[in-house]
Amino acid sequence: MKKKSVFKKFIYSQKAAPYVFIAPFIITFLVFFAYSIVSMIIMSFQKVAGPNTAFVGFDNYKIVKNAVFIKSLKNSIFYTIVSCMLMIPIPMVLAVMLNSKHMRAKATFRSVLFIPALTSIVVAGVVFRLMFGELDNSFMNQVLGLFGKEPLIWLRKPATAWTAMFFLCLWRWTGVNMMYYLSGLQQIPGDLYESASIDGATFMQQLRYITIPLLKPTTIYVLTISIFGGMAMFSESYILFNGNKSPNNIGTTLVGFLYRLGLEQNNLGIASAIGVIFLLIVLGINFIQLRINGTMGKGGDK
């Protein structure tokens, strides 16, 4: 009894309290995150086959020379770069326009643009897959028909398939990114613009010298989430191509390849090696960002 109360007293002490508070995180971190990373690294040096598991050195890392690996890596990088190029300027411009004092019914438009973000990727992906179907009467082909163009086989040719992917990406995330920019814009003091226009600055000059520089924190944040979202992209491709097999791997991403090897072909060793490579890439990007921005890039860390 006495022992228990000592323990209780300790738990209730101001010294122990913070540890109790952060315990849920520490436990899940150790059990799920740290354990997984460690076991992934170990598996990446093994041929995993039940009781016959054996260490094979760096054999699994020979995958970097595999054509499909290189393709999926390229795909992931390409998707990331283009989606950043689209998902930063477009929402920014829309936010500036929406924020304009000439604009009416701001709240309504803002909400409407946000609606796509509410839909599940499965629903969005299915609609887009059917919209970009290759039948003459599929919606996008009808649209092309209005302009007198021939119907396209959208999802089986690289250029058009990527177009569909980026449409999907734009559709789902423009509203959210615009929202980030809107709240960024609200933090820019209005008198800055007033004094600028008194000084005779045109709208474009204001944009260039006030708006864009002052939106930098927002841009960094949006860039960060776009990079990580882009590198980890998988579900979009999975749904759009109706499974993890796009024609000639046009839509196979790094995660898709990892998924295919690990879960579909039971090649856990090689899949883990891909995971480790992926981890290194992600940490590398973080490191570069850290150097460039001097912060962790993710909001609150100051």
Binding site: G50, P51, A67, V68, L135, N248, E264, Q265
Partner: protein, 438 residues
């Protein structure tokens, strides 16, 4: 106002939940047979909901005939890919695996190569003379052991749209070789402007059938990838030639299980398709406009007199290593899949061509006017089975087949027929083989 909104919202949620409770009981994807007191409990995993009823029904029949060896079977159905992964992991850790499971052909090699399945030769022995044995032995190894039994024969046939055939003045009964087929295709193209057939870029049925007819395989006898063969290159060149002429097209959607394709097929925009007999179900399900217009004939061959029977696709049901009821599981498996009762059920309900040959001759089955498959097609599929006999070629699915399959359906045929159409076939196959991870 706010309260009103919240109230509405709450009732929507409650309604949803209430509905869900009532619906939950109906969703019968975990099936059990009629409970028998004191029977042996067994677990079964499948990835196809339709198979659940088959297994529970067969367990009931088994219990009736073998009261001293009764089974209480619990069949769990899940999505294909996760089920196979879960099964593999359970096999690897030696814990949590069911007694038996349905394993799809594309995954079979992975299970076979690490020895997670039990041979069933003895259990199959009593049925041996009544069935097409090559359908069973294909789920086997080089030592003559076999491990799985399929639901169907998977005999590959050619389905012809007779409206188009008549318009072009072609009689499919006279088509014997692929050259005849190509010639007929040219007539069809000229008369109707429609392609004779389509090739898939995301699956392998047509090239695989052609390759098997030539005596080729995707993996060699040791199970290593074997994509780079002259036979394979010839198949690709043959199809490429017809693609150039317009006699062949790329299947809309890239495959014959895509919605674009079903629409295309159902509208009568393509003259024929070569697929296994289990594809009949796709006609009845998705192509209702074609009822009474489709005729089934044996597939063409390369040279007159060649074997016209090729098996494709499928699911090998197997007994998993580690089961406590080895013998019972094997016997039940063989009974369910190979007995008359089992094969009849498979044909009647699932539309699967029977492995058991006596059914081909049974008028109660072959002449059954109420059968939705027989009444859909203008020719009788059993005539094809009878004509082709039991000397049938099956693909070698051992070793690297799973890995090779992954490349074939994602890159190889897409490259061969759509993307790198000018690249030399042998060269292309070599670079494809290099990217296979095995």
């Amino acid at each position: 106002m706010k309260k009103l909104v919240a109230g509405t919202l709450a009732s929507v949620m409650v309604l949803g939940t209430a509905l869900s409770v009532s619906a939950a009981e109906d969703a019968s994807t975990q099936g059990k047979n009629t409970f028998v007191e004191g029977a042996t409990e067994m677990d079964f995993w499948t990835f196809q909901e339709l198979h659940v009823a088959f297994w529970t029904t067969m367990a009931d029949v088994w219990n009736e005939q073998n009261p001293d060896r009764a089974i209480n079977l619990t069949v769990t159905s899940g999505e294909s890919q996760p089920m196979h992964s879960k099964l593999l992991i359970a096999c690897q850790s030696g814990d949590g695996a069911p007694d038996m499971a349905d394993v799809e052909i594309g995954y079979y090699g992975s299970f076979l190569k690490d020895g997670y399945l039990l041979p069933i030769n003895e259990a199959v022995e009593p049925y041996k003379d009544d069935i097409v044995l090559s359908r069973v032995s294909m789920y086997g190894d080089t030592e003559g052991n076999y491990y799985g039994v399929d639901f169907h024969l998977g005999e590959t046939v050619t389905y012809y749209n007779m409206d188009i055939m008549n318009e072009a003045g072609v009689d499919p009964a006279e088509i014997v070789t692929w050259d005849d087929y190509a010639e007929a295709g040219r007539k069809v193209l000229e008369a109707t402007g429609k392609p004779m057939f389509a090739v898939e870029t995301n699956d392998l049925f047509l090239p695989q059938a052609m390759l098997l007819e030539k005596g080729g395989q995707y993996v060699d006898e040791e199970g290593n990838p074997n994509l780079v063969t002259q036979e394979h290159a010839d198949v690709i060149d043959f199809i490429r030639g017809l693609l150039n002429e317009g006699v062949c097209e790329i299947a809309p959607g890239g495959g014959v299980h895509k919605e674009e394709w079903y629409g295309h097929l159902n509208s009568g925009d393509v003259a024929s398709v070569t697929m296994p007999l289990w594809y009949m179900g796709r006609f009845t399900d998705y192509c209702s406009d074609l009822k009474g217009k489709i005729a089934i004939y044996p597939i063409p061959v390369w040279n007159e007199g060649d074997v016209r029977a090729v098996l494709q696709g499928g699911t090998g049901t197997s007994v998993i290593k580690g089961t406590e009821n080895e013998q019972l599981a094997k016997d039940f498996l063989a009974f369910a899949k190979l007995s008359k009762e089992g094969c009849t059920y498979e044909w009647d309900v699932l539309g699967f061509d029977p492995i058991r040959t006596e059914l081909w001759e049974d008028p109660a089955i072959t002449e059954n006017k109420d059968n939705k498959f027989l009444s859909f097609f203008t020719t009788n599929p059993f005539d094809v089975l009878k004509a082709n006999g039991t000397d049938i070629i099956a693909p070698n699915i051992a070793g690297a087949y799973s890995a090779v399959y992954g490349s074939l359906v994602s890159t190889t045929y897409a490259n061969a027929f759509e993307i790198s159409v000018d690249q030399d076939a042998m060269e292309l196959l070599q670079s494809e083989q290099d990217s296979v991870i095995y």
